[in-house]
Amino acid sequence: MTRLTPRDPYEPSEFERNVKAIDSADHRGVIQGKDHGFSGNLGLVIGAGGGSLTLTDAVRSQGGKPANYTEIGGNPSVAKACGLAKEVLKKDGVEKIAVMMSIVSNTRVDIVARGVIKACLELGRDPGETIAIFRIPGAWEEEGFKILERYGVESCDRSVSMWEAAGRAVAKIQGVPA
């Protein structure tokens, strides 16, 4: 794991450059990604600002090893959500991804669901196996959960806390019962 000191110039990684390019190509919504200092096996496709920080804390506190950090917000397009998920999945060592957010108001659950499933399929991976957990409650959640069910992805609504969802993702990647 590399750590930057205050005097080191910040050189974005390939992952960070690619995510920024995807974000810049489409004005709808915002995605950000960082992976400096992350070297785990659980890819995080998470949002929004506060939700991402809280969820990363929750994953780490329960023994998980994040491969990256992301922030999704502002109702991104399917292409943008797909592009972000593909970049996370393409990172070395990533075995599964956890797609999680705090309750969303303007970001649509169904759009993010379509994006991450599209990413799995385009990379030739089974969404049901690749997505450890999908926990995004809120706007358009019924539509989103129907799509996820069709592909065998474990999803949960607001009755499952952010902490619990992160714990389920960690348990799944560690191969232990949640």
């Binding site: 109702n75 705090s102 952010m162």
Partner: protein, 255 residues
């Protein structure tokens, strides 16, 4: 009682014909909020879900015959300052800025002018505020049916830098049988119009509020405006409210 909003609160949406603003307007109307006009330069004469659209705030005021209480500003970053300054100059007193990635210099100027004119800015980069079953100003909570799942009337005030966490916390409170008096997404940017310290006295003066939950995160001078900070810095704020304050700071996720 509640903070900042009431049943009769009227507001406009600046940038109302944009993609997110159209959705936001529908959601607020469905929730029962009084959206009385919209502004998009060059779009006068149109309507968005029955809300008349004008070229300027001045035209809205002339058409209504009164100054609306608030404005939700959701225009691209480069034009946000002009929109906000226009609203302030026309006498609007509560301005919610949804837009993110506004240049800091612009935000500083907006906040300064608002302060001089006796107006209040919530945001930028926020989802607005809600008084459950009374009024929703901004995209907070999403569609009306989803907002109703998360927000219920009650005694707890909520303030958060994160819009999503405002709803998450409120939903958790609701599940625990604790409704909310007012929930405010104060904005995630480095400079914001209203900090925890500046909003706390409003909750203290509110008869309905019997406790408060605050969510904050690193960055943007949060230490100065966090619960420990407001005790030291807030002018007119009691050093120790009579009701409980629960605060939560996310901070451990750095690599």
């Amino acid at each position: 009682m509640s903070v900042l909003l009431s049943q009769d609160f009227t507001f406009i949406v600046q940038g109302i014909t944009g993609r997110e603003a159209v959705n936001l307007t529908r959601e607020c109307l469905d929730y029962g909020s009084k959206v009385v006009g919209g502004v998009t330069p060059g779009r006068k004469g149109r309507d968005v879900h029955g809300v008349p659209v004008f070229d300027t705030v001045e035209q809205v005021v002339d058409s209504l015959g009164y100054v609306p209480d608030g404005s939700v500003v959701t225009v691209p970053p480069a034009f946000t300052k002009d929109a906000v300054l226009e609203a302030i100059v026309r006498g609007i007193k509560l301005i919610v800025i949804v837009t993110e990635r506004i240049p800091r210099r612009d935000v500083a100027q907006m906040v300064e002018l608002a302060d001089r004119q006796g107006a209040r800015i919530i945001g930028p980069n926020c989802l607005g505020l809600i008084v459950p079953e009374v009024c929703k100003m901004g995209g907070i909570g999403g569609p009306a049916k989803d907002a109703a799942k998360a927000y219920t009337p009650g005694p707890v005030g909520v303030m958060s830098r994160s819009g999503g966490m405002t709803t998450e916390i409120s939903s958790t409170l609701t599940a625990a049988g604790l409704g909310q008096s007012t929930a405010i997404s104060i904005g995630g940017d480095a400079i914001i119009g209203s900090t925890y310290a500046e909003l706390m006295p409003l909750f203290e003066a509110d008869e309905q509020t019997q406790g408060i939950v605050i969510y904050t995160e690193p960055g943007g001078g949060w230490r100065r405006s966090s619960p420990s900070g407001w005790r030291r810095t807030a002018r007119g704020c009691r050093s120790s409210p009579s009701w409980p304050v629960a605060s939560w700071t996310t901070r451990r996720c750095r690599a």
